[in-house]
């Protein structure tokens, strides 16, 4: 697609960078320049809780239309009511006739596919670890649509998403049986996003080294690919892509600073080396700080147009750490089964210090003619409604934001009937310009017309 820059090809990231010339400094910032000329891009942020919401009846709102009251679990969202699009307990996820194992709900949540579980497992544990979705997740599909030209097509981040079953607990999928695990360490994410690239555009001192190494690695990967079978060739291809993406990022060399640099400042994080103040891998103690640091990093990355799609997982399915911060010493997964009131308190805590915090950042960061939240589609959801029953009935979904003018917020939408949650995922895709009426292989009744996309 061509625009007023003339010969620049925005069709995909590689051809784009090639057509503007590899030596062009502002390569990471061209999208900002583009943004300057046009309206800010629309982004997607999905925040996903795990293990259910405790007492389901305390989660959902009462009322209808614009006159609604938040459920007590969500009362910390009160200041952001006008940005919210709430639903009643009318969504169902994967329905198999009863309780669904955690890895299957995690796999189904954003992919709307029937999961695959390996048949010849040695025990339930191995079977769970091998469970995978059989299609891509909605964020990845949307990222392919809108992530061109951003340095990072999407981000997959985790807050305390430590599980004895990391891959089987995955929510984000590049494709069938191809999970993308979330980055747990906010410092690693920060370094990846904000250092190595001087935001004034000066070249990193290791650019030349990295480029040479990566070229050699790519060549050797291609040679290996020719020797192996089809399954392994596919895996090597994914590695080649990962290397190529990294190669493009290090291709930037000196030049003009970003026009939008004023908006684009890396966030301040807690100290790296004082575990009595903060530790990214100790959610039992620091979940609040982890969530907030992760939100800060994600929002800053979007303000800098380093990415337009982010999924943030809070906790993980079958997480074993205890929510010490609310005075509970039992492992989170056990809490979800044995202590519904504590699980409700935990959910309220993550909503307050994670989701409400996210809405606060987005609604107070100026952008264009308004705030970032006007140009963002925000979603909060959870793999289960009733975590103890392992049930994807009454699946909680909260939408928020203006989605670039596409969404009208500040209301509850009720259908008067049950709907599959895939309908919401379809609606999300349509919000980002994809003309679809189905997704994955859960049967969809079509998009949610009340959202007007």
């Amino acid at each position: 697609m061509r625009n007023r820059f003339g010969a620049i090809d925005f069709a995909n990231r590689r051809s784009f960078l090639r057509s503007i010339g590899a030596g062009l400094a502002a390569a990471p910032f061209i999208p900002l320049l583009e943004a300057q000329a046009a309206t800010p891009p629309t982004r997607l942020i999905i925040m996903v809780g795990s293990n259910g919401v405790g007492r389901v009846n305390q989660f959902f709102p009462s009322g209808a239309g614009e006159a609604f009251t938040l459920g007590s679990t969500c009362k910390s969202l009160e200041p952001y009511k006008k940005h919210l699009i709430l639903f009643g307990n009318e969504f169902d996820g994967r329905i198999s006739g009863g309780a669904i194992p955690h890895p299957e709900s995690a796999a189904n949540l954003l992919t709307a596919t029937a999961p695959f579980s390996p048949p010849t497992s040695v025990d339930v544990d191995s079977r769970n670890k091998g469970t995978r979705a059989t299609g891509p997740s909605v964020d990845q599909v949307i990222a392919k649509q809108i992530g061109k030209g951003t340095k990072f097509e999407s981000l997959s981040l985790g807050c305390g998403s430590i599980s004895p079953n990391q891959l089987g607990a995955s929510i984000v999928y590049r494709g069938s049986k191809d999970p993308i695990t979330c980055e747990q360490d906010v410092f690693v994410t920060y370094d990846r996003l904000f250092s190595g690239v001087d935001l004034t555009g000066k070249p990193s001192p290791r650019t030349g080294d990295d480029a040479k190494i990566l070229d050699a690695v790519s060549k050797n990967l291609a040679t290996l690919k020719g020797r192996v079978g089809a399954e392994d060739a596919r895996r090597i291809e994914a590695h080649i892509e990962s290397v190529a993406a990294l190669r493009e990022r290090v291709a930037a060399v000196g030049g003009a600073p970003s026009a939008g640099a004023g908006m684009c400042t890396p966030p301040t994080l807690p100290p790296r080396d004082n575990i009595s103040v903060f530790h990214p891998r100790n959610p039992a103690r620091y979940l609040k700080e982890i969530m907030q640091a992760t939100v800060d990093v994600a929002v800053a990355a979007m303000a800098c147009d380093l990415t337009r799609v982010t999924v943030i997982q809070v906790g993980a399915t079958t997480a074993l750490w205890p929510p010490d911060f609310i005075g509970v010493k039992m492992q989170l997964h056990d809490v979800s089964h044995q202590r519904p009131d504590d699980m409700t308190r935990y959910t309220a805590y993550t909503i307050e210090h994670g989701f409400a915090y996210l809405l606060k950042k987005l609604s107070t960061t100026p952008e264009g003619a308004g705030m970032m939240i006007d140009n963002t589609a925000v979603v909060w959801t959870n793999e289960f409604g009733d975590g103890n029953a392992h049930s994807m009935r009454d699946l909680p979904i909260i939408a928020a934001g203006g989605a670039g003018g596409k969404w009208k917020s500040g209301r509850v939408i009720r259908f008067g009937r049950r709907r599959r949650h895939v309908d919401f995922l379809v609606t999300l895709m349509r919000t980002f310009g994809m003309n679809v009426t189905s997704f994955g292989n859960d049967p969809s009744a079509g998009p949610i017309t009340e959202l007007g996309v």
Partner: protein
């Protein structure tokens, strides 16, 4: 036993895997004729028509699979594995003396198959290339600070000559075979370009940093060469060397092993046996023991405990406990006859001041010391407090999980998963009930008992060990009933407690065979096929007659068809 086949009702009204029944009629015909001490295929006759002219055909156990099993039955593809986190860290320790375990700090969790880290299906995902690059950079930078040790240049050797010699030596160890001319030139070019602008040390740094990102380092393909049996390839000497070193050392091969590959010695079962026997005597064998035992016993995630109730537990105690497990395994396999009865019965433990309280002992030792233990309550690995801690909840023991562990991990009889429909929650913990009483519904409700009778009693036998593995006579002041019955095995019968249960298990050929299967899964990174099951069973059978020495089992598996050949379905 290893394949969940049709679920059928036996005459006892048990819902049970049909294969379990077949297990008892042990598959007797699997042993090949003329099978000697090596079990499996070593020393058997060559099939005629082996079309590999290569050197080192050896005196038998050569170019084609030799066991009477049909190796290709139910063939499963063997995909290429990527180095696991532990393997990466061990490799850089061996290659350049890196002691910091950088992969464990930076890389995401390994994919596991059958309970063992395998990375045989997972792809390098977004951000992984970056992480691998950043880890490689750190290792390389720290390595050149120890440059003298890393390069080992002779005095008077020019810098470039030294660097090229380094590339040959280091490259061979990192790529686990002799470099091709192109590979050598590629690394040499990286060195020269960098050395020209930034000097010799930086040039070497770049070579190390690059090599650690190359697929030749990160991946272990098993392609092999054709044999006269269609669908079956024999692994090349290089592939065997890698497979052996990651199996028995959890790391890269050393020079003698690579030399054996290059000379063709690893093309024969005898050649493999020679190397394997050397390797299990080497100090590096302990790393494989640690990796295997911690995964088999599922010790990879630190459990949370109510430390008010269990002040003797802490993260430090957990770490020491894991080290104590490794030391026990090393002791059994190195210092004793290493047989199954020892693994399950040896009355020895490795204890320091931190972990002593869990054993009901006191110690002022600052490092783990070998002590004798009471054979009745602390004999063998299954009574180790660290294992029993892992198989417990925050405040209570976990009898169901312990029972599942015995069935799945020790007997390779994994019960089917719980039903999808409305499983009622278990009653809350209570100080007026024992765990056995709490699980009463598992026995009373027929739809629960159908499955739970298979494993609950085995887990309840361990009720004398609490949530942190400490021994207790009573639970909340109540009598503990740890009795039960073992069924569906070759050593069935009643037991009074876990000591008696373990007494039965240590004489079980099923347990030995399961252990062989676990070794296979650890070595190859996937579940065995039907053909492979047959070979593994025959290896076990011949070893079991002499008490099943674990060390011999490892070597026999390494020399057997399942290790030296690969099927391509």
């Amino acid at each position: 036993m290893r394949h969940e086949g049709v679920v059928a009702r036996t005459q006892h009204g048990f819902r049970l895997n049909v294969a379990l029944i077949l297990v008892l009629a042990a598959c007797g015909g699997a042993a090949s004729p003329g099978e000697g001490e090596e079990g499996g295929s070593g020393g058997g006759e060559d099939d005629t028509g082996g079309d590999e002219p290569g050197p080192g055909g050896g005196k038998g156990g050569g170019d084609n699979p030799s066991s009477s099993c049909n190796l290709a039955e139910g063939a499963v593809a063997t995909t290429m594995r990527r180095l696991t986190i532990k393997e990466y860290d061990n490799a850089v320790a061996d290659l350049v003396g890196e002691s910091g375990k950088p992969a464990a700090a930076a890389l995401g969790e390994d994919e596991s198959v059958g309970g063992f880290a395998s990375n045989s299906l997972v792809t390098v995902a977004q951000g992984d290339a970056e992480k691998l690059a950043s880890v490689a950079r750190g290792v390389a930078e720290r390595a050149v600070m120890r440059l003298g040790d890393v390069l080992k240049c002779g005095s008077g050797q020019g810098e470039e000559a030294c660097a090229l010699a380094f590339i040959d030596r280091f490259g061979k160890l990192a790529y686990r075979r002799k470099l091709t001319t192109e590979e050598r030139d590629q690394l040499a070019q990286l060195y020269r370009d960098k050395a020209k602008t930034d000097g010799h040390v930086q040039g070497v740094r770049l070579v190390i940093e690059a090599a650690l990102q190359m697929p030749q380092f990160l991946y272990r393909p098993v392609i092999g060469v054709k044999t006269s049996k269609s669908g079956i390839n024999r692994l090349t000497g290089d592939e065997i060397a890698s497979r052996l070193s990651f199996f028995l050392w959890a790391s890269v091969p050393d020079e003698p092993l690579l030399a054996a590959a290059e000379s063709g010695a690893l093309d024969s079962a005898d050649g493999v046996k020679t190397q394997a026997e050397r390797m299990v005597k080497d100090g590096k064998f302990d790393r494989a023991l640690e990796s295997f035992s911690h995964q088999w016993l599922d010790l990879t995630h630190e459990p949370t405990k109510d430390t008010v109730r269990y002040p003797s537990f802490s993260p430090e105690v957990w770490e020491v406990g894991k080290a104590s497990v490794t030391k026990f395994w090393s002791h059994v396999l190195r210092d004793t006859d290493g047989k199954l009865e020892r693994l399950f019965g040896e009355p020895v433990a490795f204890v320091d001041a931190k972990i002593a309280p869990l054993y009901g002992m006191t110690s002022s030792a600052t490092s783990l010391q070998k002590v004798s233990t009471d054979a009745k309550t602390r004999g063998g690995i299954l009574t180790h407090p660290t294992l029993l801690t892992a198989l417990a909840g925050t405040t209570e023991s976990a009898p169901v999980r312990r029972g599942l562990f015995v069935r799945s991990r020790l007997l390779c009889q994994p019960p089917p998963p719980p039903p999808p429909d409305g499983v009622p929650p278990i009653p809350a913990e209570s100080p007026s009930q024992t765990q056995r009483q709490r699980l009463e519904q598992h026995r009373k409700t027929p739809s629960c008992a159908a499955c739970h009778a298979f494993f609950d009693p085995l887990g309840l036998s361990f009720e004398h060990y609490d949530a942190v593995g400490a021994y207790r006579d009573k639970e909340h002041g109540l009598e503990i009933d740890a009795s039960g019955e073992l069924t569906m095995t070759d050593v069935d019968g009643t037991f009074k407690d876990s000591t008696e249960l373990i007494g039965r298990l240590k004489k079980s050929e099923l347990v030995a065979d399961c252990l062989s299967a676990q070794f296979f899964r650890f070595a190859v990174g996937r579940i065995e096929s039907e053909g492979e099951t047959c070979v593994i069973k025959s290896v076990t059978k011949s070893l079991f007659q002499r008490g099943y020495s674990l060390r011999e089992a490892l070597v026999s598996l390494a020399t057997s068809d399942v290790f030296r050949f690969v099927t391509n379905p």
